[in-house]
């Protein structure tokens, strides 16, 4: 058992390594911000909208009758090739791409182990989307009533008939052509609109527990993807395969493997086996969060005395774990923050957002509005002070990193004090200023690449705070050349070390940092033994 768990872990990490290599290639070409591999959920939403827009166009021309259905779809492809034909192809190809990105999204979350703990909701609500997506696609394939539609219709009812649900086999409705009625097509179009709407509702529920969900691809990726689909629509239009004819079997079919793969199993194995397999896969996916149950890290805690109700933690929490409530008792402000423990990811990003987290406060013990019991900001300030006073070098560097990104601790050196946070988003920008005022020559801030933050938004918020585009911002009087923001994810330790060397070199070319001391940093500064160089 132990053996197989380690083998499985090794395989998972190896696959993750391979995926990373692909992602890095795309990072270089697209930038991490537009890298499709980092926006698989957003791409899935994007395809949904393309399918909806093209579907509305097709619906206008579609005839819901046994003979009209085929003719009307043919007229779209042949009669108006560059409008209806393109729309039909977009509808088909975007559906295939949708399935592809959803499966890749699932695989990626799986490889990163993101199914347990506070993520159980996202994972569990993702699973039914697979069924709804499949049902939407299958419903679509019935409508043109061509040879493939005939196959899909009969395969679907033969598969359903294997369940003891219906008094009379559904397949009897497709024995001879007289059994197939116009009413059936009205029902089908109703289903083909209703099931995708249920899918959309499911997608909406799926992202309920992630704040600022990544549902927009952004312009570069969106236009690029649309252009690719358009080229594909012209190069390889979606076509019908001849009218349905129940008197013969469609024996050779151009097959859409993205949706019809299960039907290949249906006939190469059996209906019962396919149900067992589909049920087992669904069940396993649903159980996965249970298997991943481990010890939970302590969650964020609010200190009412130090919370002024500014709602920054509420805005920055990646998992919607903070809510703002009216304050009942005395205290600063009319609102107060409250953490919902079940939703909290223990990332500490809220502590980085809180204005009370500033180390310049002269209190002996720094208590902030919202804090992490496992690494309170008071401890971080004390560690920073200890770290700085330990450095035996003229050019002291402070490096803040993150437990989930490249291992920052490996960079510990006589001239570098290193601090690994729960997430880089946990760093209040005032700590950077504090370090520079307390005798550091430069501060390096390291997080995961964009789109790769273990807590989704830590690196994004950090970059915006340091650029002054998000509160709490780094004050503009901080010399920007003395602050270096670098992105190196897990496993990119060598890369990170190189970036530190670059920074060291740059600092050597700068005049010495004249610390602007406050009463607190002065006390600290005086304690630091500065070695005078020759």
């Amino acid at each position: 058992m132990e053996q197989s768990v380690t083998t499985y872990e090794a395989a998972r990490l190896a696959s993750l390594g391979e995926l990373r290599k692909i992602e890095f290639i795309f990072d270089r070409v697209f930038n991490a911000a537009n890298n499709p591999w980092r926006h698989l959920g957003a791409l899935s939403f994007f395809f949904f909208w393309i399918i909806t827009a093209s579907g509305i166009y097709l619906y206008v021309f579609f005839d819901t009758g046994v003979s009209g259905a085929y003719q009307s779809v043919e007229a779209l492809s042949n009669g108006q090739r560059y409008a209806g034909g393109v729309m039909r192809s977009l509808h088909r190809h975007a559906s295939d791409a949708f399935m592809l990105t959803v499966v890749l999204h699932l695989a990626k979350e799986f490889l990163r182990g993101r199914y347990g703990g506070f993520r159980w909701f996202s994972w569990i609500t993702g699973v039914p989307l697979l069924w709804l997506l499949f049902a939407s696609g299958i419903g679509g394939y019935w409508l043109p009533w061509d040879r493939l539609a005939q196959f899909v219709a009969i395969a679907t009812v033969e598969w359903l008939d294997a369940l003891p649900l219906f008094a009379e086999p559904l397949a009897r409705n497709f024995l001879v052509v007289e059994n197939v009625s116009d009413r059936l097509f009205t029902l089908l179009i109703f289903l083909h609109i209703g099931i995708p709407l249920a899918l959309l509702l499911g997608m909406f529920i799926h992202i309920q527990r992630v704040n600022h969900a990544d549902v927009h691809t952004g312009r570069v990726l969106g236009w690029g993807t649309l252009a690719a689909l358009l080229v594909l629509a012209l190069a390889k239009p979606a076509l019908s395969q001849g009218p349905a004819d129940l008197a013969t079997v469609p024996h050779l079919l151009a097959f859409d493997w993205f949706y019809l793969f299960p039907y290949w199993l249906l006939y190469s194995r059996s209906a019962a086996e396919l149900w067992v397999l589909a049920g087992a896969v669904t069940g396993l996916l649903m159980l996965l969060p249970l298997l991943a149950r481990g010890a939970r890290a302590p969650v964020a805690r609010v200190d009412l005395e130090n919370c002024n109700g500014c709602a920054r933690c509420f805005a920055d929490c990646p998992y919607a774990a903070v809510v703002m409530r009216p304050r009942s008792g005395a205290g600063p402000g009319r609102m107060r923050a409250e953490v919902i423990p079940a939703l909290c990811a223990s990332c500490g990003i809220c502590a980085g957002a809180c204005p009370s987290s500033t180390p310049f406060r002269s209190n002996e013990r720094l208590v902030t509005g919202i804090d992490m019991p496992q690494l309170p900001v008071n401890e971080l300030r004390a560690a920073l002070e200890r770290g700085l006073s330990r450095l035996r070098s003229e050019r002291r560097i402070v490096a803040f990193g993150c437990d989930c990104a490249a291992r920052i601790r490996a960079l510990e050196a006589p001239d570098v004090a290193v601090f690994s946070l729960l997430c880089i988003g946990m760093l209040p920008p005032s700590f950077i200023e504090y370090a520079l005022r307390s005798g550091a020559e430069g501060v390096m801030v390291a997080g995961c690449r964009e789109g790769d933050c273990a807590y989704r938004l830590g690196n994004v918020w950090t970059a915006r705070r340091l650029e002054g585009r998000r509160e709490p911002h780094l004050r503009p009087n901080v010399a920007s050349e003395r602050v270096r923001l670098v992105w190196s994810g897990a496993g990119e330790g060598a890369e990170l070390a190189r970036k530190l060397d670059d920074f060291r070199l740059a600092l050597e070319g700068m005049p010495r940092n004249a610390p602007h001391l406050t009463s607190r940093t002065k006390a600290l500064h005086n304690k630091i033994p500065i070695e005078r160089g020759s």
């Binding site: 499709p36 295939d96 033969e158 086999p169 001879v176 594909l232 079997v249 469609p250 493997w257 993205f258």
Partner: protein, 167 residues
Amino acid sequence: MTAILRYLAQAALYVPFMVIIGYFSTSPAYVHLPSDQALVRLSLSHAGQRIGECRQRTPGELAKLSPNMRAPLECPRERAPVTVELEIDGKLVYREVLQPSGLRRDLASTAYWRHPIAVGSHRFRARLRDRASGDFTYAREQTIELAPAQVLVIDFSASQGGFLFRF
């Protein structure tokens, strides 16, 4: 990387995406039925005979029933299972005893069976018994020449005289 080079490189990376979508949306082709085969689809929905005889209710029994339920005859609703057999070229390929559906076993027995078969001429013999015992009540026998991919539907309708071979 200059902007133009970057966009060219992006375009290049869309190519595998387009190829994967374009290819697997239609290929490889799927052979649903080899070209030297035809398909038999046997299906029926037929209610077997009632199992018991109707019985005259005694005046005492009638008095116990509510006035609107006082039918003089009591007929058991349960139906007999339907036995179906299909022989192809003298070989028994299908035999099922189809139980009546419904909680009280009072509804039709149904069947659906698909069976690929080599093309060419075959002798089909279908038989059905819809009572608890005794001989087959319906039978039909016919030689049929099946072309590649042709479907032979074997259906049943008591009102149309029994088995229907449609091809």
